[in-house]
């Protein structure tokens, strides 16, 4: 490795280019996928490659993006959070529960002034996160199972609060951020960009972010270096629940209604965005940059399939195949890296 490589450029074993490819496969593959998809849909449909549609795509992925920020943190520590969509749903319904609903909505709710409703709702998201963190770090339940239980509990909370009804009113701030625009740009897009940006800065430029990468890279080594691994893992679970909660609040305003099961596709989309983007399922590699690419790949795919003549039932299958391909590349990239 230490030999000067420019002296012997013809060695096929590890030329600088191959070594670069090997290191960057997890970053390159998603970008190429994105470019290929954009190219394909631009050629296949005249309505795809337009500014209006571009803003559409951003708007469509904005809610997923907020969830995916928290999930990126979780996956970087090599844990998983399967409760994100259910928590988003429960928290979205909670904010409606604390808001005065129109007469025709038959829900026994608890109306509060807007700001108090929002604070209480944020506390409910925090509570979900803290319970998950407690179960995973203190009790020692694997996050896969723990968040499955939280998923069910959050679904239960949703069910109890709306009892099969649909709520339509939210605090004015939530209505504005969820469904309003400024200078023609939807607030959800701005909020999502803000989350991605702050999420990225924390991961790359703070000690906490470094500890997340190190914990995911080698948990034992982090612990033997005096990193409080339990605190780090507990924190990312709380961050994930808060991101999901905020996404859920904005989403009910974005959808225009709060009801049970309206987030069903968001769990898979958020996980897919993180993984398709190239963040390692084994932790320690990747980041928000990868997640942004992953979000765009999914966004372009979902949107583009609407622009071409295709069986709408086939779309589900295509998304599954894209996800499987991303998983294969993800694991393969990890093996390449380890075999170095």
């Amino acid at each position: 490795m230490s030999a000067p490589t420019d002296q012997i450029p013809s060695l096929p074993k590890s030329s600088p280019f191959q070594s670069f490819l090997r290191n960057q496969l997890r970053n390159i593959a998603p970008v190429f996928t994105l470019l290929a998809l954009v190219f394909f849909f631009s050629v296949a449909s005249t309505s795809f490659f337009t500014m209006v549609n571009f803003m559409n795509i951003l708007s469509q992925i904005s809610i997923t993006a907020i969830i995916a920020v928290g999930l990126t943190y979780v996956i970087l520590t090599s844990e998983i959070d399967l409760s994100v969509a259910a928590v988003a749903n429960a928290v979205g319904i909670t904010v409606a529960y604390f808001t005065l609903q129109p007469d025709y909505v038959n829900i026994a709710n608890l109306p509060m002034p807007g700001i108090i409703a929002i604070v209480l709702t944020l506390l409910s998201a925090l509570a979900f996160g803290l319970i998950t963190a407690f179960g995973v770090t203190w009790i020692g339940i694997p996050s896969f199972i723990m968040t499955l239980a939280i998923m069910q509990i959050a679904n239960g909370v949703s069910a109890l609060l709306v009892r099969g009804q649909i709520a339509y009113s939210y605090p004015s701030l939530i209505t504005m951020l969820g469904s309003g625009s400024i200078f023609g740009i939807r607030w959800t897009i701005i909020v999502a960009i803000l989350f991605l940006l702050v999420g990225h800065l924390i991961l790359r430029y703070t000690r906490f972010g470094r500890y997340i990468y190190m914990t995911g890279g080698n948990r034992e080594a982090a612990e033997y270096s005096g990193v409080n691994v339990k605190f780090i893992i507990g924190s990312v679970m709380v961050i994930s629940a808060m991101c999901s909660g905020i996404a859920g609040m904005l989403a009910v305003a974005y959808f225009g209604s709060a009801q049970q099961n309206q987030f069903d596709s968001y769990l898979l989309d958020a996980i897919a965005a993180v993984v398709v983007g190239g963040t390692s399922l084994f932790g320690g590699r990747g980041g928000i940059g990868n997640t942004i690419i992953g979000l765009l790949v999914l966004g372009v795919l979902n949107n583009g399939l609407d622009h071409i003549q295709i069986d709408s039932f086939l779309k589900i299958l295509i998304r599954g195949i894209i996800l499987l391909t991303a998983l294969i590349i993800n694991v393969y990239a990890q093996k390449l890296k380890e075999s170095e």
């Binding site: 230490s2 430029y205 890279g217 033997y224 005096g226």
Partner: protein
């Protein structure tokens, strides 16, 4: 009759090695070893770490197939290609790390892999339980075959594993460090069982560091040193001292580097960290230890003596059930490794992988333990690189490039990086587990120099090792551990390697 088994014409020996040699990458690990095991014999095998015991056993058990020389089983030449071959030829092994499955019953463990079936092709449970009961009681044990393996004490689990090897039809049984985790009554029970097995005409190879145990149970004892067999004598004619002098070389006591050392300790130096009667409820029992500023305390013991656990207890990784620590005069217990780090305790574990991030650059490996001191809010990678470069210079890490992925450094340099992460802000206490194991001579000397330098700067250092040389080279005081307890302490005077071996 027992002492000189089968020297007459009768049966050929169970196992015979003639001129067996084995090398790894050009370095000889075994040289012209002869070894004979007779039916009805317990043959003790002793030697220091790396003397060739395990290599010999791995050849016998079929793990290594590329060796020179001849092996005969029951007088017939054999050359095993795999452990399966060895098993088929009647050679079974019980490893120090038991391979039983705790969540299965005793009977299921005994028949693991070859359960008898009924005519319908389902497992014949009644036969399994009946046979297991018979097998276990034939060893003079009283264990219900339906109890879960995990609920038995280690000593009984080991005997169940032994009965599994017996059931598989093994005539030659290799026991690797069978007594290292056993209490005295458990050792006695094991020996009773071994005598029964011997009386059935099987042969036992008994590998152990515990010389008292070896001399008590064996008929014959073979000593290895530096890949050669140096002696095979009847146990009755041997003493512990005689065995030790075979192990480390006759007449060489005190002659070579690392064979002896003068302990220079100073009781006026302040005690930085003291352990008072600590225990973890499992491995460690009633251990007391004082670490003084500017001194290196060596902890010596055989593998499994509790060193690994002791180091982790001191660093807050293993929680204490009994006793407590006293840090600078105040009683403390650490709830986490980060709590231990914050009060100035540093730890380098025995295995590099445990504390290094292979795919990350060197500078991130160095800075991980001191990030809190480098910056308040934002990371300063430039400064991290600068610190790492300085450390790389101090410790002569090659190549001295802080941006290189750690995994591309050599083993010795990786070990230095593991040390480097604690050296920017000197810890009060530095715990080093096996600091020089597996290193080449040059890297070893570098590490020894670094550790001594830190001692001279006033750090209280604890060095834990299974290698007497490491302890003798570094220590100002020595504590010898044996089965999780303090066996002996040496604070002054000339300490010989033989003293360490005899005490452990």
């Amino acid at each position: 009759m027992m002492d000189q088994p089968n020297s007459g014409g009768g049966l050929p020996p169970l196992l015979q090695l003639t001129n067996v040699s084995k090398s790894f990458g050009g370095i000889a690990a075994l040289k012209d070893v002869d070894f004979t095991l007779h039916a009805g014999e317990i043959h003790g095998l002793v030697g220091e770490n790396g003397a060739g015991k395990s290599t010999t056993m791995k050849i016998i058990a079929g793990v290594y197939s590329d060796y020179e020389g001849e092996m005969r089983v029951d007088g017939k030449p054999v050359h095993f290609r795999s452990a399966r071959d060895a098993l088929a030829a009647g050679i079974g092994m019980v490893h120090q790390e038991l391979s039983t499955i705790p969540d299965l019953t005793v009977a299921e463990n005994v028949f693991l892999g070859h359960q008898p079936l009924t005519k319908l092709g389902t497992i014949d449970w009644s036969q399994i339980n009946r046979e297991a009961t018979r097998l276990i009681s034939s060893l003079g044990l009283d264990i219900d075959p339906k109890t879960l393996m995990g609920s038995l004490p280690v000593g009984l689990q080991q005997l169940v594993e032994l009965s599994r090897v017996l059931f598989s039809g093994a005539k030659t049984i290799i026991l690797d460090e069978p007594t290292s985790a056993l209490s005295p009554p458990e050792v006695k029970r094991l020996f009773d069982v071994l005598r029964k097995i011997k009386a059935e005409g099987r042969g036992i190879i008994f590998i152990s560091h515990f010389l008292d145990d070896v001399l008590e149970i064996s008929d014959t004892v073979t000593v290895f040193r530096n890949g050669k067999k140096v002696a095979t004598e009847s146990a009755a004619s041997l003493t512990k001292d005689a065995v030790i002098s075979h192990m480390i070389g006759r007449g060489s006591i005190g002659m070579h580097m690392g064979e002896s050392a003068e302990l220079i300790s100073d009781d006026t130096r302040p005690i930085v960290l003291a352990a008072e009667a600590i225990g973890d409820g499992k491995t460690l029992h009633n251990i007391s230890l004082n670490l003084r500023a500017g001194e290196i305390t060596g902890v010596y013991g055989f593998m499994g003596c509790g060193q690994v656990e002791l180091a982790r207890a001191l660093f807050g990784k293993i929680k204490l059930k009994r006793g407590h620590f006293i840090l600078n005069g105040a009683q403390r217990n650490f709830q986490s490794t980060s709590a231990a780090r914050k009060v100035g305790i540093a730890f380098v574990p025995e295995n590099r992988r445990m504390m290094l991030f292979r795919t990350e650059p060197v500078y991130k490996n160095v800075s991980i333990a001191i990030l809190g001191r480098i910056h308040r809010l934002l990371l300063k990678p430039g400064q991290e690189r600068k610190i790492a470069a300085t450390r790389a210079g101090d410790l002569q890490i090659r190549p001295p490039n802080p941006n290189m992925a750690l995994g591309s450094l050599s083993g010795g340099n990786q070990q230095k990086v593991a040390l480097a992460k604690w050296l920017t802000h000197l810890p009060k206490v530095l715990i080093l587990s096996e600091p020089t194991r597996g290193m080449d001579v040059g890297a070893k000397e570098d590490v020894i120099r670094i550790v001594k330098d830190l001692r001279d700067k006033g750090v209280a250092i604890l060095v834990l090792s299974t290698e007497p040389e490491t302890i003798l080279t570094l220590a100002n005081r020595v504590t010898v551990l044996r089965k999780g307890m303090v066996a002996k302490e040496f604070n002054s005077g000339i300490l010989f390697k033989a003293d360490l071996l005899a005490a452990a």
